[in-house]
């Protein structure tokens, strides 16, 4: 049984609020819900510095995914749903499963907004892979296979991304994944219990709850310890893209059913904190409480302790908040039309409880009430009452303002480049993952010379890793992965509207502020280079231990860099993620890794710039891209 990672003062706070000793289930629930992963307790107030509003924002930060306005077709307004997450620690421990569940999780975040999932992107940071027999090489191989296996099976094209290999990631790789969806703005489904939903059904859909992924949220919020490697494997979830493929299609059918019957519902992905985290957040966000009967949960094995059922992070699950008069029909769609129980053992849609009026979060198990807490205390308090304010003097991030020209350049002169790539050794396994090097379009650096001579030792052939990703499924692809600097889709059949997606972040930039600023500008430049108009950003901030002032300083500097560039460009962040405690065995942080994705609009895909045979309008040809 994993221990909880709550601090003594946090446990004391829980005791005081409850007026009694917390139960085992409650301890695990608070452990998950108050983890950095769920609460952003270390980063939340710094994140307020990012611009998040704009005329195109339909749903801003706060729900499972952001939504920006794409355009109008046949009188309908369409939005692009976008979400961005990391799955770093799981991928270091169990690379294939960690990376695959990263894709699976981000897809659910987009799906639960009522959207059809249309595209994926990935930003990967591996350790030194120059030795094909090294652990780092096998981790890289597993990660690529995991991203490929999941995305390919569910049938969502991977259209953008990059990959770097640097020794600074030897003990802590990064797997950042971005998913994009499309939704009619009139048909968005929210991740909260709708108004007037007291008494409505809470319906759990998907894979049977099993003991995998127990302690996952908490695990991702501490530094990895090699001694715990075996134990940590149990905290990683098990992916099932086959079931997800069916779950997605069944959910699309449910979306159509709800539309036809003019029903408002709530829908949310189960991620960190499992059933407890999802049901508590969806109900508290609507201003309600919840009563859940853990005995009604479809489980994979009998006899699981209630805390594992409640908090375990089994993959491929979502929760609906449904008015009772439609519940039977929705269950029929999942269980009979799409035969979930035949797709995976004990998978199904099942009523597990209801929305309550009293703002209590109550879990029953057997004859016992195993959890009974104020729902807002569970989901919200930590954010307000445990601020991690530190004197700003301890933040050692001096941006080098004396050298105004250093912003995008790698600062080779400072001598602080512990993580700098050693070009002479050819330790970069993958040439930088876009055509930027070839076209040398304005903005970023030309990396082609640095990447030349690079080996790809972890591949059993010479093909780049992204050739393993299906980039054309769904038949909407305009610019496939790595054809140009951004991927482009025509997501609405019969419409000329296009959406572009690009990812950027350069871990060789050691100044965190510069890295943040560069990531924004580079992602935006890539989107512009295909003729698209940038409309929104997402970010994932991958940094070290927030309790270390130097690491926290890097995070804050990067946020300031992101904010400065995004503000200047007038672009909002609509979704994001923070991944902390990324460090090596000696406690050194990974290279600063703010990773940014940019979404752009193309009013007419005939005007897309890029593609192999249009030599005059080649990717990155800014003369053609300016419009």
């Amino acid at each position: 049984m994993p221990a909880v990672n709550l601090r003594p003062d946090e446990i004391e706070r829980i005791r005081t609020a409850l007026g009694r000793e917390p139960s085992t289930v409650e301890l695990h629930a608070f452990d998950a819900q108050w983890s950095e992963h769920c609460s952003y307790k270390s980063s939340r107030h710094f994140l307020k510095r990012l611009p998040v509003t704009g005329e195109n924002v339909v749903v801003g930060v706060g729900q499972d995914a952001g939504i920006v306005h794409l355009g109008t077709h046949d009188g309908e307004r369409y939005g692009i749903v976008i979400a961005h997450e990391s799955h770093n620690h799981p991928s270091q421990v169990v690379p294939f499963e960690g990376a695959a569940t990263g894709v699976g999780g981000i897809v659910r975040d987009v799906l639960c907004m009522g959207a059809e999932v249309i595209g994926l992107a990935d930003a990967l940071r591996f350790g030194d892979t120059s030795d094909p027999r090294s652990l780092q090489s096998s981790i890289a191989e597993g990660i690529v296979e995991g991203v490929a296996a999941y995305g390919n099976a569910i049938g969502v094209p991977n259209i953008a991304g990059d990959a770097y290999a640097l020794p600074g990631f030897d003990d802590n790789c990064l797997v950042n994944v971005i998913a994009m969806g499309i939704v009619k703005e009139s048909e968005i489904i929210n991740s909260y219990a709708p108004r007037g939903s007291a008494g409505w059904d809470l319906v759990l859909v998907g894979k049977a709850t099993d003991p995998s992924g127990f302690g996952g949220a908490s695990f991702s919020s501490v530094a990895l310890d090699a001694d715990d490697a075996e134990a940590n494997k149990g905290a990683v979830q098990v992916p099932d893209p086959f079931l997800k493929n069916v779950l997605m299609r069944a959910s699309y059918r449910v979306f159509a059913y709800l539309r036809e019957n003019n029903v408002t519902a709530g829908f949310k992905d189960l991620g960190a904190g499992g059933i407890m985290g999802c049901s508590a957040e969806i109900c508290s966000a609507g201003g309600y409480g919840a009563i859940i009967d853990l005995d009604d949960v479809n489980v994979a094995v009998e006899g699981m302790p209630p805390e594992v059922i409640a908090v375990g992070e089994t993959q491929e699950r979502l929760i609906w908040v449904l008015p009772p008069h439609v519940t039977a029909d929705v269950l029929r769609i999942y269980n009979e039309e799409f035969t979930l129980p035949e797709i995976a053992r004990h998978a199904c849609a099942v009523v597990i409880g209801c929305v309550s009026n009293d703002k209590r979060y109550v879990l029953r198990h057997g004859r016992d009430i195993v959890m009974d807490v104020d729902i807002d205390f569970l989901t919200g308090t930590i954010r307000d009452e445990l601020p991690y304010d530190r004197p700003s003097t301890t933040l050692r991030y001096a941006r080098d303002d004396t050298k105004g020209t250093l912003r995008y350049a790698r600062d080779d002169t400072k001598g602080t480049l512990r993580y700098a790539r050693d070009d002479t050794k050819g330790t970069l396994p993958y040439a930088r993952d876009d055509k930027g090097g070839d076209s040398a379009a304005g903005g970023g650096e030309n990396l082609s010379s640095r990447a030349s001579g690079a080996k790809r030792p972890e591949s059993r052939d010479d093909s780049p890793h992204w050739e393993r990703y299906d980039t054309s499924v769904r038949g909407c692809t305009v610019l496939a992965r790595n054809v140009a600097e951004a991927g482009v889709l025509a997501p609405i059949p019969g419409s000329r509207l296009g959406v572009a997606l690009a990812v950027a972040g350069d871990p060789t930039i050691t100044d965190a502020y510069a890295a943040g600023e560069f990531a924004v500008r580079e992602a935006v430049r890539k989107v512009r280079s295909v003729g698209a108009r940038p409309i929104a950003l997402t970010d994932c901030l991958n940094f070290g231990n927030p309790n270390n002032p130097e690491h926290l300083g890097q995070l804050v500097a990067a946020i300031d860099g992101l904010a400065a560039a995004a503000t200047e460009l007038g672009l909002p962040f609509v979704s994001g993620n923070v991944s902390l405690y990324n460090a090596d065995a000696s406690g050194n942080a990974i290279p600063p890794s703010p990773i940014v994705a940019c979404v752009g609009v193309i009013d007419d895909v005939a005007m897309v710039v890029g593609g192999p045979s249009t030599s005059l309008r080649y990717a990155g040809d800014d003369k053609g891209g300016a419009r």
Binding site: A153, E337, R468, T477, A480, A490
Partner: protein, 245 residues
């Protein structure tokens, strides 16, 4: 021959929507038939098996769905002359079902679309060349001789493999309907991209023509072309559409 086509959806299929869209665009009366209503399949006049990972590619791609109840109806229809088209995973299923090349017994395959030479998934834009006389099959009847069709190869198990004896049968019977132009991206024997059965009513193609079905799909599509007009991949479906008219 005239009538309606069913696009079969197995658990794990992932290319049904774009396949249906392409069929509609070329004038085929088609609809999706999910596995839970597979019993309605005899009502249809033609079958299309789209891409994906039916039953998770367990054992090997196509092996489990080839034994699914839905395939009973497809095999029955094929034997009675109904048109059957398999794309990618659908092609793997038809091969496992023994319908292509069709030189052996039903469900006793004589060849395989097996692991790519690279031993991993390959996603590449390709062109396939018509390798039989257009009159060989209703699927190819409207194509020009030796025509090139653009498509996306997106598979992990697409390499045609068979014994020398069976390869001789495949060559001798003109069962290779399309070859990869410039060499197979997966190491396939005979550079084979598509197989057709002896009567010509069952065709199995590994790459996806429907993913290069519109001008906007086509890499480097010409300036000024209507992005929403059908492109080269749509041509592939013309014979099928005409045969169902």
């Amino acid at each position: 021959m005239s009538g309606r086509a069913a696009v079969l959806v197995f658990p794990g299929t992932n290319s049904e929507d774009e396949t249906l869209r392409m069929l509609h665009a070329v004038g085929v009366d088609a609809e999706l038939v999910h596995w839970s209503r597979g019993e309605s399949l005899p009502e249809y006049d033609a079958y299309v098996l789209p891409g994906g990972f039916a039953y998770e590619d367990r054992i090997r791609a196509g092996a489990i769905p080839a034994h699914d109840r839905m395939l009973d109806h497809v095999i029955d229809g094929a034997q009675r002359g109904k048109l059957v088209l398999g794309i990618c995973n659908g092609a793997q299923i038809l091969l496992e079902a023994g319908l292509v090349p069709g030189t052996g017994e039903v469900r006793r395959p004589t060849a395989a679309f097996t692991r790519n030479a690279q031993r991993h998934f390959v996603s590449k834009h390709v062109h396939v060349r018509l390798a039989v006389d257009p009159t060989r099959s209703p699927f190819t009847a409207l194509l020009e001789k030796n025509v090139l069709i653009p498509a996306w190869a997106s598979h992990g198990e697409g390499r045609l493999a068979a014994s020398d004896e069976h390869l001789r049968e495949i060559t001798g019977g003109a069962h290779v309907a399309f070859t990869y132009e410039g060499g197979a991206p997966n190491g396939a024997a005979l550079d084979c991209a598509a197989l057709v059965n002896k009567p010509g009513n069952v065709l199995a193609i590994m790459p996806h023509p429907e993913r290069d079905g519109w001008n906007f799909n086509h890499p480097g599509h010409a300036d000024g072309a209507d992005p929403l007009a059908p492109s080269g991949g749509a041509i592939f479906f013309g014979g099928f559409a005409a045969a169902l008219k």
